[in-house]
Protein backbone atom coordinates (compact mmCIF):
# COMPACT_ATOMS: atom_id res chain seq x y z
CA UNK A 1 0.00 0.00 0.00
CA UNK A 2 1.57 3.27 -1.10
CA UNK A 3 0.98 5.46 1.91
CA UNK A 4 4.20 7.43 2.03
CA UNK A 5 2.36 10.69 1.58
CA UNK A 6 0.62 10.06 4.91
CA UNK A 7 3.80 9.09 6.74
CA UNK A 8 5.43 12.27 5.53
CA UNK A 9 2.81 14.33 7.30
CA UNK A 10 4.11 13.37 10.71
CA UNK A 11 6.05 16.00 12.61
CA UNK A 12 7.97 15.97 15.86
CA UNK A 13 6.61 18.06 18.70
CA UNK A 14 8.93 20.87 19.71
CA UNK A 15 11.55 20.04 22.32
CA UNK A 16 10.42 23.06 24.31
CA UNK A 17 6.88 21.77 24.48
CA UNK A 18 7.97 18.23 25.39
CA UNK A 19 10.28 19.46 28.10
CA UNK A 20 7.71 21.85 29.56
CA UNK A 21 5.02 19.18 29.63
CA UNK A 22 7.41 16.66 31.18
CA UNK A 23 8.38 19.16 33.85
CA UNK A 24 4.73 19.78 34.58
CA UNK A 25 4.05 16.03 34.85
CA UNK A 26 7.06 15.56 37.10
CA UNK A 27 5.87 18.36 39.36
CA UNK A 28 2.50 16.67 39.48
CA UNK A 29 4.12 13.38 40.49
CA UNK A 30 6.34 15.11 43.03
CA UNK A 31 3.44 16.92 44.65
CA UNK A 32 1.70 13.55 45.17
CA UNK A 33 4.87 12.01 46.54
CA UNK A 34 5.66 14.97 48.76
CA UNK A 35 2.59 14.57 50.86
CA UNK A 36 3.63 11.01 51.73
CA UNK A 37 7.23 11.95 52.41
CA UNK A 38 6.64 15.02 54.54
CA UNK A 39 6.16 13.12 57.78
CA UNK A 40 9.22 10.96 57.17
CA UNK A 41 11.39 13.97 56.34
CA UNK A 42 10.26 15.81 59.41
CA UNK A 43 11.33 12.90 61.55
CA UNK A 44 14.75 12.69 59.85
CA UNK A 45 15.28 16.44 60.17
CA UNK A 46 14.43 16.39 63.85
CA UNK A 47 16.91 13.55 64.40
CA UNK A 48 19.67 15.42 62.55
CA UNK A 49 19.10 18.65 64.43
CA UNK A 50 19.01 16.84 67.73
CA UNK A 51 22.16 14.86 66.87
CA UNK A 52 24.04 17.99 65.83
CA UNK A 53 23.08 19.76 69.02
CA UNK A 54 24.38 16.86 71.11
CA UNK A 55 27.63 16.77 69.11
CA UNK A 56 28.22 20.52 69.48
CA UNK A 57 27.56 20.35 73.17
CA UNK A 58 30.07 17.52 73.50
CA UNK A 59 32.78 19.44 71.63
CA UNK A 60 32.20 22.58 73.67
CA UNK A 61 32.37 20.52 76.83
CA UNK A 62 35.77 19.14 75.77
CA UNK A 63 37.08 22.73 75.80
CA UNK A 64 38.01 23.36 72.13
CA UNK A 65 36.17 25.58 69.68
CA UNK A 66 34.15 23.32 67.43
CA UNK A 67 35.39 24.86 64.20
CA UNK A 68 39.03 24.50 65.19
CA UNK A 69 38.66 20.88 66.13
CA UNK A 70 36.68 20.10 62.99
CA UNK A 71 39.25 21.83 60.76
CA UNK A 72 42.12 20.03 62.39
CA UNK A 73 40.51 16.67 61.91
CA UNK A 74 39.47 17.31 58.34
CA UNK A 75 42.94 18.51 57.40
CA UNK A 76 44.55 15.45 58.91
CA UNK A 77 42.09 13.11 57.28
CA UNK A 78 42.63 14.63 53.84
CA UNK A 79 46.37 14.41 54.15
CA UNK A 80 46.18 10.82 55.13
CA UNK A 81 43.68 9.96 52.44
CA UNK A 82 45.24 11.52 49.42
CA UNK A 83 48.63 13.00 49.96
CA UNK A 84 50.73 10.73 52.02
CA UNK A 85 50.71 7.98 49.41
CA UNK A 86 52.32 9.95 46.60
CA UNK A 87 55.47 11.13 48.26
CA UNK A 88 58.64 9.95 46.62
CA UNK A 89 61.89 9.73 48.47
CA UNK A 90 64.90 11.29 46.85
CA UNK A 91 67.14 8.64 45.35
CA UNK A 92 69.66 7.95 47.93
CA UNK A 93 72.88 6.29 47.00
CA UNK A 94 71.49 4.97 43.78
CA UNK A 95 68.63 3.09 45.41
CA UNK A 96 65.24 2.91 43.82
CA UNK A 97 62.78 5.64 44.70
CA UNK A 98 60.41 4.60 47.40
CA UNK A 99 56.90 5.47 48.27
CA UNK A 100 56.90 6.93 51.71
CA UNK A 101 53.94 7.08 53.94
CA UNK A 102 53.89 10.06 56.23
CA UNK A 103 52.85 9.28 59.74
CA UNK A 104 49.53 10.80 60.55
CA UNK A 105 50.01 14.16 62.14
CA UNK A 106 53.78 13.84 61.99
CA UNK A 107 56.28 15.83 59.96
CA UNK A 108 57.33 14.77 56.51
CA UNK A 109 60.87 13.56 56.09
CA UNK A 110 63.18 16.34 54.97
CA UNK A 111 63.81 14.68 51.64
CA UNK A 112 60.20 13.99 50.82
CA UNK A 113 57.83 16.20 48.90
CA UNK A 114 55.55 18.20 51.10
CA UNK A 115 52.03 16.97 51.29
CA UNK A 116 49.96 20.01 50.39
CA UNK A 117 50.18 22.24 47.33
CA UNK A 118 50.81 25.27 49.54
CA UNK A 119 54.18 23.85 50.55
CA UNK A 120 55.17 22.32 47.26
CA UNK A 121 58.21 24.51 46.64
CA UNK A 122 61.32 22.52 45.81
CA UNK A 123 64.87 23.68 45.39
CA UNK A 124 66.48 23.15 42.00
CA UNK A 125 68.95 20.30 42.02
CA UNK A 126 72.55 21.52 42.22
CA UNK A 127 74.10 21.72 38.81
CA UNK A 128 70.82 21.60 37.00
CA UNK A 129 71.04 23.63 33.84
CA UNK A 130 67.59 22.91 32.60
CA UNK A 131 64.32 23.73 34.31
CA UNK A 132 61.95 22.86 31.55
CA UNK A 133 59.65 19.97 32.26
CA UNK A 134 59.20 18.02 29.04
CA UNK A 135 56.40 15.64 28.34
CA UNK A 136 55.33 13.68 25.27
CA UNK A 137 52.13 11.77 24.88
CA UNK A 138 48.79 11.32 23.17
CA UNK A 139 46.43 14.24 22.94
CA UNK A 140 44.28 12.99 25.81
CA UNK A 141 47.20 12.94 28.23
CA UNK A 142 48.64 16.21 26.98
CA UNK A 143 45.38 18.13 27.19
CA UNK A 144 44.62 16.87 30.69
CA UNK A 145 48.09 17.70 31.95
CA UNK A 146 47.91 21.14 30.34
CA UNK A 147 44.50 21.86 31.83
CA UNK A 148 45.59 20.89 35.30
CA UNK A 149 48.85 22.82 34.96
CA UNK A 150 46.87 25.90 34.02
CA UNK A 151 44.67 25.55 37.06
CA UNK A 152 47.53 24.84 39.44
CA UNK A 153 49.28 27.98 38.23
CA UNK A 154 52.11 29.01 40.56
CA UNK A 155 52.31 25.62 42.22
CA UNK A 156 52.73 23.90 38.88
CA UNK A 157 56.03 23.41 37.07
CA UNK A 158 58.45 26.30 37.48
CA UNK A 159 58.56 26.83 33.72
CA UNK A 160 55.81 26.15 31.23
CA UNK A 161 55.38 22.57 30.27
CA UNK A 162 57.09 21.53 27.09
CA UNK A 163 54.57 19.16 25.58
CA UNK A 164 55.14 17.15 22.42
CA UNK A 165 52.17 15.35 20.90
CA UNK A 166 53.10 11.73 20.27
CA UNK A 167 51.58 8.28 20.28
CA UNK A 168 52.00 6.20 23.42
CA UNK A 169 54.65 4.10 21.71
CA UNK A 170 56.63 7.10 20.51
CA UNK A 171 56.34 8.87 23.86
CA UNK A 172 57.71 5.88 25.74
CA UNK A 173 60.49 5.58 23.20
CA UNK A 174 61.36 9.26 23.79
CA UNK A 175 61.44 8.64 27.53
CA UNK A 176 63.53 5.51 27.28
CA UNK A 177 66.05 6.69 24.73
CA UNK A 178 69.69 6.62 25.70
CA UNK A 179 69.74 10.39 25.24
CA UNK A 180 67.08 10.84 27.87
CA UNK A 181 69.02 9.57 30.85
CA UNK A 182 70.24 12.74 32.50
CA UNK A 183 69.79 15.77 30.34
CA UNK A 184 67.57 14.93 27.43
CA UNK A 185 68.39 16.26 24.02
CA UNK A 186 65.58 18.01 22.26
CA UNK A 187 63.01 15.43 21.33
CA UNK A 188 63.65 13.23 24.36
CA UNK A 189 61.51 13.70 27.41
CA UNK A 190 61.28 13.54 31.18
CA UNK A 191 57.75 12.22 31.23
CA UNK A 192 55.87 10.04 28.78
CA UNK A 193 52.11 9.91 28.62
CA UNK A 194 50.44 6.74 27.43
CA UNK A 195 46.95 5.47 26.86
CA UNK A 196 48.10 1.97 27.78
CA UNK A 197 50.52 0.42 30.22
CA UNK A 198 54.16 0.20 29.28
CA UNK A 199 54.98 -3.13 27.61
CA UNK A 200 57.59 -5.58 28.95
CA UNK A 201 59.63 -5.09 25.76
CA UNK A 202 59.62 -1.31 26.27
CA UNK A 203 60.64 -1.85 29.84
CA UNK A 204 63.61 -3.88 28.67
CA UNK A 205 64.50 -1.18 26.19
CA UNK A 206 64.44 1.45 28.96
CA UNK A 207 66.69 -0.67 31.14
CA UNK A 208 69.02 -1.36 28.26
CA UNK A 209 69.38 2.36 27.61
CA UNK A 210 70.10 3.13 31.26
CA UNK A 211 66.76 4.74 32.09
CA UNK A 212 66.08 2.52 35.04
CA UNK A 213 64.37 4.83 37.47
CA UNK A 214 60.93 5.30 36.12
CA UNK A 215 57.75 5.67 38.09
CA UNK A 216 54.29 4.95 36.87
CA UNK A 217 51.34 7.16 37.71
CA UNK A 218 47.81 6.18 36.85
CA UNK A 219 46.25 9.47 35.79
CA UNK A 220 42.69 8.30 35.50
CA UNK A 221 40.30 6.83 33.00
CA UNK A 222 39.35 8.50 29.79
CA UNK A 223 35.80 7.42 29.09
CA UNK A 224 33.53 8.02 26.17
CA UNK A 225 29.85 7.32 25.89
CA UNK A 226 27.11 7.37 23.32
CA UNK A 227 24.33 9.19 25.08
CA UNK A 228 20.90 10.52 24.39
CA UNK A 229 18.48 12.86 26.08
CA UNK A 230 17.32 11.84 29.52
CA UNK A 231 13.78 12.09 28.18
CA UNK A 232 14.19 8.75 26.47
CA UNK A 233 15.68 6.23 28.88
CA UNK A 234 18.92 4.28 28.73
CA UNK A 235 19.90 2.98 25.30
CA UNK A 236 21.21 -0.56 25.27
CA UNK A 237 23.78 -1.42 22.64
CA UNK A 238 26.63 -3.82 22.11
CA UNK A 239 30.12 -2.80 21.07
CA UNK A 240 29.45 -4.69 17.85
CA UNK A 241 26.30 -2.62 17.21
CA UNK A 242 28.32 0.55 17.74
CA UNK A 243 31.06 -0.56 15.37
CA UNK A 244 28.53 -1.49 12.70
CA UNK A 245 26.74 1.82 13.15
CA UNK A 246 29.84 4.00 13.06
CA UNK A 247 32.58 2.36 11.02
CA UNK A 248 33.33 3.47 7.48
CA UNK A 249 33.71 -0.13 6.32
CA UNK A 250 31.99 -3.18 7.74
CA UNK A 251 31.94 -6.88 6.91
CA UNK A 252 29.57 -7.76 4.09
CA UNK A 253 26.64 -9.61 5.72
CA UNK A 254 26.60 -12.03 2.78
CA UNK A 255 30.36 -12.55 2.57
CA UNK A 256 31.79 -11.77 6.01
CA UNK A 257 35.37 -12.07 4.78
CA UNK A 258 35.04 -9.03 2.55
CA UNK A 259 34.41 -5.45 3.59
CA UNK A 260 31.88 -3.07 2.14
CA UNK A 261 31.07 0.60 2.61
CA UNK A 262 28.83 0.87 5.64
CA UNK A 263 25.26 0.37 4.40
CA UNK A 264 23.52 0.64 7.80
CA UNK A 265 21.21 3.61 8.24
CA UNK A 266 18.64 2.14 10.63
CA UNK A 267 19.48 0.57 14.00
CA UNK A 268 17.39 -2.54 13.50
CA UNK A 269 19.13 -3.30 10.23
CA UNK A 270 22.15 -4.00 12.42
CA UNK A 271 20.23 -6.04 14.96
CA UNK A 272 16.56 -6.88 14.66
CA UNK A 273 16.05 -6.29 18.39
CA UNK A 274 17.05 -2.64 18.13
CA UNK A 275 14.60 0.12 17.35
CA UNK A 276 13.55 0.99 13.84
CA UNK A 277 15.15 4.41 14.17
CA UNK A 278 17.57 6.26 11.99
CA UNK A 279 21.19 6.11 13.11
CA UNK A 280 22.21 9.66 13.89
CA UNK A 281 25.19 10.54 16.06
CA UNK A 282 26.53 13.99 16.90
CA UNK A 283 30.06 14.29 18.12
CA UNK A 284 33.37 16.13 18.16
CA UNK A 285 35.60 16.46 15.09
CA UNK A 286 37.65 13.44 13.99
CA UNK A 287 40.86 15.01 15.29
CA UNK A 288 39.60 15.35 18.87
CA UNK A 289 40.80 13.40 21.90
CA UNK A 290 37.27 12.12 22.50
CA UNK A 291 37.14 10.71 19.00
CA UNK A 292 40.53 9.07 19.44
CA UNK A 293 39.33 7.45 22.63
CA UNK A 294 36.12 6.34 20.95
CA UNK A 295 38.02 4.77 18.08
CA UNK A 296 40.40 2.94 20.37
CA UNK A 297 37.82 1.72 22.86
CA UNK A 298 34.26 1.21 21.67
CA UNK A 299 35.07 0.95 17.96
CA UNK A 300 37.90 -1.47 18.47
CA UNK A 301 35.94 -3.54 20.95
CA UNK A 302 33.17 -3.94 18.38
CA UNK A 303 35.62 -4.55 15.57
CA UNK A 304 37.31 -7.30 17.54
CA UNK A 305 34.07 -9.26 17.67
CA UNK A 306 34.70 -10.12 14.01
CA UNK A 307 37.34 -12.81 14.03
CA UNK A 308 38.72 -11.90 10.61
CA UNK A 309 39.16 -8.26 11.62
CA UNK A 310 40.67 -9.09 15.00
CA UNK A 311 43.25 -11.25 13.19
CA UNK A 312 44.39 -8.20 11.22
CA UNK A 313 45.89 -6.75 14.39
CA UNK A 314 48.72 -9.25 14.12
CA UNK A 315 48.89 -9.80 10.37
CA UNK A 316 48.41 -6.24 9.11
CA UNK A 317 48.32 -3.64 11.92
CA UNK A 318 47.93 -0.69 9.56
CA UNK A 319 44.91 -2.22 7.88
CA UNK A 320 43.54 -3.12 11.30
CA UNK A 321 43.72 0.49 12.42
CA UNK A 322 42.22 1.68 9.18
CA UNK A 323 39.25 -0.68 9.39
CA UNK A 324 38.65 -0.67 13.11
CA UNK A 325 39.21 3.02 13.78
CA UNK A 326 37.85 4.84 10.75
CA UNK A 327 34.54 6.53 11.36
CA UNK A 328 32.08 6.81 8.52
CA UNK A 329 31.83 10.16 6.76
CA UNK A 330 28.57 9.66 4.91
CA UNK A 331 26.51 11.97 7.10
CA UNK A 332 25.40 9.50 9.76
CA UNK A 333 28.05 10.90 12.09
CA UNK A 334 27.72 14.66 12.37
CA UNK A 335 29.70 17.38 14.04
CA UNK A 336 28.49 18.95 17.25
CA UNK A 337 25.52 21.23 16.78
CA UNK A 338 25.05 24.51 18.64
CA UNK A 339 22.19 23.36 20.84
CA UNK A 340 22.94 19.69 21.29
CA UNK A 341 20.60 19.26 24.21
CA UNK A 342 17.62 20.52 22.21
CA UNK A 343 18.58 18.28 19.30
CA UNK A 344 18.65 15.22 21.50
CA UNK A 345 15.40 16.16 23.16
CA UNK A 346 13.73 16.67 19.82
CA UNK A 347 14.93 13.47 18.19
CA UNK A 348 14.67 10.35 20.36
CA UNK A 349 16.92 8.44 17.97
CA UNK A 350 19.71 11.02 18.04
CA UNK A 351 22.77 10.28 20.14
CA UNK A 352 25.86 12.21 21.10
CA UNK A 353 29.40 10.97 21.40
CA UNK A 354 30.58 12.58 24.60
CA UNK A 355 33.07 12.39 27.38
CA UNK A 356 31.48 10.48 30.26
CA UNK A 357 31.75 13.37 32.71
CA UNK A 358 30.47 15.95 30.24
CA UNK A 359 27.50 13.75 29.39
CA UNK A 360 26.65 13.56 33.08
CA UNK A 361 26.90 17.31 33.51
CA UNK A 362 24.56 17.88 30.59
CA UNK A 363 22.06 15.38 31.93
CA UNK A 364 22.36 12.94 29.02
CA UNK A 365 21.83 9.24 29.54
CA UNK A 366 24.78 7.13 28.40
CA UNK A 367 24.18 3.86 26.61
CA UNK A 368 24.89 0.61 28.36
CA UNK A 369 27.38 -1.33 26.25
CA UNK A 370 27.19 -5.10 26.29
CA UNK A 371 24.97 -4.82 29.33
CA UNK A 372 27.38 -2.62 31.29
CA UNK A 373 26.38 0.93 32.15
CA UNK A 374 29.25 3.39 32.50
CA UNK A 375 29.64 4.25 36.17
CA UNK A 376 32.71 5.09 38.22
CA UNK A 377 32.75 1.51 39.48
CA UNK A 378 32.46 -0.20 36.08
CA UNK A 379 35.01 2.19 34.59
CA UNK A 380 37.58 1.67 37.32
CA UNK A 381 36.91 -2.07 37.27
CA UNK A 382 37.57 -2.09 33.52
CA UNK A 383 34.26 -3.71 32.64
CA UNK A 384 32.87 -0.79 30.62
CA UNK A 385 34.21 -1.05 27.07
CA UNK A 386 34.35 2.67 26.36
CA UNK A 387 37.09 3.47 28.83
CA UNK A 388 40.86 3.33 28.92
CA UNK A 389 43.41 4.12 31.57
CA UNK A 390 45.92 6.91 31.00
CA UNK A 391 49.39 6.70 32.50
CA UNK A 392 52.39 8.90 33.01
CA UNK A 393 55.86 7.36 33.07
CA UNK A 394 58.35 9.59 34.82
CA UNK A 395 62.12 9.54 34.55
CA UNK A 396 62.70 9.93 38.27
CA UNK A 397 66.31 11.07 37.97
CA UNK A 398 65.37 13.80 35.54
CA UNK A 399 62.30 14.77 37.50
CA UNK A 400 64.43 15.50 40.56
CA UNK A 401 66.59 17.90 38.59
CA UNK A 402 63.69 19.93 37.20
CA UNK A 403 62.27 22.33 39.76
CA UNK A 404 58.59 21.88 40.24
CA UNK A 405 58.32 18.64 38.27
CA UNK A 406 57.65 16.27 41.12
CA UNK A 407 55.49 18.75 43.05
CA UNK A 408 53.44 19.19 39.93
CA UNK A 409 52.97 15.45 39.51
CA UNK A 410 52.02 15.11 43.15
CA UNK A 411 49.54 17.97 42.82
CA UNK A 412 48.16 16.47 39.63
CA UNK A 413 47.44 13.17 41.32
CA UNK A 414 45.59 15.02 44.04
CA UNK A 415 43.78 17.35 41.65
CA UNK A 416 42.34 14.57 39.53
CA UNK A 417 40.48 13.27 42.56
CA UNK A 418 38.68 16.55 43.06
CA UNK A 419 35.22 17.15 41.64
CA UNK A 420 36.35 20.50 40.27
CA UNK A 421 39.39 19.06 38.54
CA UNK A 422 40.13 20.31 35.05
CA UNK A 423 41.18 16.80 34.08
CA UNK A 424 38.33 15.24 32.13
CA UNK A 425 39.07 11.84 33.59
CA UNK A 426 37.37 9.44 35.90
CA UNK A 427 39.79 9.40 38.84
CA UNK A 428 41.47 6.19 39.88
CA UNK A 429 40.87 4.85 43.33
CA UNK A 430 42.73 6.97 45.86
CA UNK A 431 45.05 4.10 46.64
CA UNK A 432 45.86 3.35 43.00
CA UNK A 433 48.94 5.49 42.72
CA UNK A 434 50.28 4.38 46.06
CA UNK A 435 50.21 0.87 44.65
CA UNK A 436 51.49 1.76 41.19
CA UNK A 437 54.25 4.16 41.97
CA UNK A 438 56.94 1.60 41.55
CA UNK A 439 60.41 2.07 40.30
CA UNK A 440 60.81 0.44 36.94
CA UNK A 441 62.56 -2.65 38.19
CA UNK A 442 59.79 -3.28 40.70
CA UNK A 443 56.97 -3.11 38.19
CA UNK A 444 55.02 -6.26 37.69
CA UNK A 445 53.11 -7.21 34.57
Amino acid sequence: MNDDFLHRLRAEPSAKFLAALKASLDRQAISHGQARRTLFRTAILATLIGGSAVAMAFVAWKGLPASARFATRMSGAQDRASQSKIILSAPNGGGAPKVLTRAAGGDAPASALPATPVTLAMQPAPGSDRSRFSLAGPKAVASNVENVARRLGPIGPAKPLDITPASSTDAIAMLCHVHAILDPHPGFVDVAGASRRILPAELESCKGNGVTRVAELLLGYETVVLARSNLYGTPKLSARDIFLAMAAEVPDPNRPQSLIKNPYRIWNAIDGTLSEDKIEVFGPPPSSAIMAAFQQTLMEAGCATFRSLAALKQSDPKRYEQVCRTVRDDGVYKGMVPNLRAQLETYPNAMALEDFRDAGVQGFVPAAVDGVEPTSDTIVAGTYAGSRALYLYVNIVRAYTVPGALPFLAAYVKDVQEPWSFAALVPPRRQANAGNLFALEEMKF
Binding site: M1, N2, L6, A11, E12, P13, K22, L25, A29
Partner: protein, 165 residues
Protein backbone atom coordinates in the same frame (compact mmCIF):
# COMPACT_ATOMS: atom_id res chain seq x y z
CA UNK B 1 12.59 0.40 23.98
CA UNK B 2 12.54 -0.71 27.57
CA UNK B 3 9.41 0.42 29.37
CA UNK B 4 9.59 -1.95 32.28
CA UNK B 5 11.92 -1.58 35.19
CA UNK B 6 11.53 -4.79 37.16
CA UNK B 7 7.77 -4.84 37.70
CA UNK B 8 7.30 -1.10 37.52
CA UNK B 9 6.42 0.86 34.40
CA UNK B 10 9.14 3.24 33.34
CA UNK B 11 7.02 6.37 33.06
CA UNK B 12 9.83 8.50 31.71
CA UNK B 13 10.45 6.13 28.83
CA UNK B 14 6.74 5.82 28.20
CA UNK B 15 6.41 9.55 28.01
CA UNK B 16 9.34 9.82 25.62
CA UNK B 17 7.91 7.14 23.37
CA UNK B 18 4.25 8.09 23.48
CA UNK B 19 4.33 11.90 23.49
CA UNK B 20 5.20 12.25 19.78
CA UNK B 21 2.57 9.66 18.90
CA UNK B 22 -0.19 11.33 20.86
CA UNK B 23 0.90 14.66 19.42
CA UNK B 24 0.64 13.35 15.85
CA UNK B 25 -2.59 11.56 16.57
CA UNK B 26 -4.15 14.92 17.35
CA UNK B 27 -2.51 16.59 14.36
CA UNK B 28 -4.07 14.03 12.06
CA UNK B 29 -7.34 14.02 13.95
CA UNK B 30 -7.75 17.81 13.89
CA UNK B 31 -6.01 18.43 10.60
CA UNK B 32 -4.12 21.41 11.96
CA UNK B 33 -1.46 22.37 14.46
CA UNK B 34 -3.98 24.43 16.38
CA UNK B 35 -4.84 23.01 19.84
CA UNK B 36 -2.62 19.97 19.28
CA UNK B 37 -0.23 20.81 22.11
CA UNK B 38 -3.09 21.67 24.40
CA UNK B 39 -4.81 18.32 23.77
CA UNK B 40 -1.55 16.38 24.08
CA UNK B 41 -0.86 18.00 27.42
CA UNK B 42 -4.40 17.34 28.58
CA UNK B 43 -4.07 13.67 27.66
CA UNK B 44 -0.88 13.19 29.60
CA UNK B 45 -2.06 15.15 32.57
CA UNK B 46 -5.17 13.04 32.79
CA UNK B 47 -3.14 9.85 32.35
CA UNK B 48 -0.55 10.91 34.96
CA UNK B 49 -3.26 11.86 37.45
CA UNK B 50 -4.84 8.45 37.14
CA UNK B 51 -1.69 6.39 36.67
CA UNK B 52 -2.22 4.71 40.00
CA UNK B 53 -5.49 3.40 38.63
CA UNK B 54 -3.95 1.96 35.48
CA UNK B 55 -4.22 -1.82 35.59
CA UNK B 56 -1.83 -3.68 33.37
CA UNK B 57 -3.92 -6.83 33.56
CA UNK B 58 -6.82 -5.09 31.85
CA UNK B 59 -5.12 -3.23 29.02
CA UNK B 60 -1.77 -2.43 27.44
CA UNK B 61 -0.48 0.99 28.26
CA UNK B 62 -0.91 2.24 24.69
CA UNK B 63 -4.53 1.10 24.65
CA UNK B 64 -5.18 2.86 27.92
CA UNK B 65 -3.42 6.07 26.91
CA UNK B 66 -5.04 6.26 23.49
CA UNK B 67 -8.45 5.65 25.02
CA UNK B 68 -7.87 8.79 27.04
CA UNK B 69 -6.65 10.64 23.94
CA UNK B 70 -9.69 9.48 21.95
CA UNK B 71 -12.07 10.74 24.62
CA UNK B 72 -10.32 14.08 24.80
CA UNK B 73 -10.24 14.36 21.01
CA UNK B 74 -13.90 13.47 20.69
CA UNK B 75 -14.91 16.03 23.31
CA UNK B 76 -12.87 18.66 21.55
CA UNK B 77 -14.30 17.91 18.12
CA UNK B 78 -17.85 17.86 19.42
CA UNK B 79 -17.31 21.32 20.76
CA UNK B 80 -15.78 22.51 17.49
CA UNK B 81 -17.74 20.86 14.65
CA UNK B 82 -16.21 22.33 11.56
CA UNK B 83 -16.11 19.54 8.99
CA UNK B 84 -16.00 20.41 5.33
CA UNK B 85 -17.65 18.47 2.53
CA UNK B 86 -15.35 16.24 0.45
CA UNK B 87 -15.99 18.36 -2.64
CA UNK B 88 -14.08 21.19 -1.03
CA UNK B 89 -10.98 19.05 -1.29
CA UNK B 90 -11.08 19.19 -5.06
CA UNK B 91 -10.27 22.86 -4.86
CA UNK B 92 -7.04 22.28 -2.98
CA UNK B 93 -4.17 22.44 -5.43
CA UNK B 94 -0.86 20.73 -4.85
CA UNK B 95 1.81 23.38 -4.53
CA UNK B 96 5.44 23.09 -3.59
CA UNK B 97 7.11 25.24 -0.98
CA UNK B 98 10.76 25.72 -0.22
CA UNK B 99 10.03 25.74 3.44
CA UNK B 100 9.49 22.19 4.58
CA UNK B 101 7.44 23.06 7.64
CA UNK B 102 5.15 25.29 5.69
CA UNK B 103 4.74 22.54 3.14
CA UNK B 104 3.93 20.03 5.81
CA UNK B 105 1.36 22.36 7.30
CA UNK B 106 -0.14 22.88 3.90
CA UNK B 107 -0.27 19.13 3.33
CA UNK B 108 -1.89 18.69 6.69
CA UNK B 109 -4.53 21.20 5.76
CA UNK B 110 -5.06 19.33 2.51
CA UNK B 111 -5.46 16.09 4.44
CA UNK B 112 -7.97 17.80 6.70
CA UNK B 113 -9.99 18.81 3.69
CA UNK B 114 -9.77 15.36 2.15
CA UNK B 115 -10.67 13.69 5.42
CA UNK B 116 -13.47 16.17 6.00
CA UNK B 117 -15.68 14.17 3.69
CA UNK B 118 -14.92 10.85 5.36
CA UNK B 119 -17.03 9.30 8.09
CA UNK B 120 -15.87 9.96 11.64
CA UNK B 121 -14.74 6.38 12.11
CA UNK B 122 -12.48 6.46 9.06
CA UNK B 123 -10.87 9.70 10.07
CA UNK B 124 -10.18 8.15 13.42
CA UNK B 125 -8.54 5.12 11.79
CA UNK B 126 -6.26 7.32 9.69
CA UNK B 127 -5.21 9.32 12.75
CA UNK B 128 -4.48 6.19 14.76
CA UNK B 129 -2.61 4.46 11.95
CA UNK B 130 -0.53 7.32 10.56
CA UNK B 131 -0.53 9.85 13.34
CA UNK B 132 -0.10 7.55 16.30
CA UNK B 133 1.68 4.85 14.30
CA UNK B 134 -0.15 2.04 16.01
CA UNK B 135 -0.78 -1.34 14.49
CA UNK B 136 -4.05 -2.71 13.23
CA UNK B 137 -4.49 -5.03 16.18
CA UNK B 138 -4.35 -2.19 18.68
CA UNK B 139 -6.57 -0.03 16.47
CA UNK B 140 -9.05 -2.89 16.49
CA UNK B 141 -8.98 -2.93 20.29
CA UNK B 142 -9.50 0.81 20.47
CA UNK B 143 -12.29 1.03 17.93
CA UNK B 144 -14.12 -2.20 18.54
CA UNK B 145 -13.65 -3.31 14.93
CA UNK B 146 -12.05 -6.59 13.90
CA UNK B 147 -8.44 -6.46 12.89
CA UNK B 148 -9.20 -7.51 9.31
CA UNK B 149 -11.94 -4.94 9.10
CA UNK B 150 -9.48 -2.26 10.19
CA UNK B 151 -7.07 -3.35 7.45
CA UNK B 152 -9.76 -3.34 4.79
CA UNK B 153 -11.16 0.04 5.72
CA UNK B 154 -7.72 1.61 5.91
CA UNK B 155 -6.76 0.20 2.55
CA UNK B 156 -9.81 1.69 0.94
CA UNK B 157 -9.44 5.04 2.68
CA UNK B 158 -5.79 5.38 1.75
CA UNK B 159 -6.58 4.58 -1.88
CA UNK B 160 -9.24 7.25 -1.92
CA UNK B 161 -6.97 9.81 -0.29
CA UNK B 162 -4.10 9.03 -2.64
CA UNK B 163 -6.28 9.44 -5.70
CA UNK B 164 -7.32 12.85 -4.54
CA UNK B 165 -3.97 13.96 -3.14
Amino acid sequence: MEFMETNELNWDALYAHQAPRIYNYFRFRLGSECDVEELTARTFERAWRSRSRYRRDLAGFSTWLFSIAQNIGTDHLRARREHLPIDAALEVRAEGSPDQDAERRSDLARLALLCGGLPERERELVALKYGALINNRLIAELTGLSESNVGTILHRVVQTLRERW
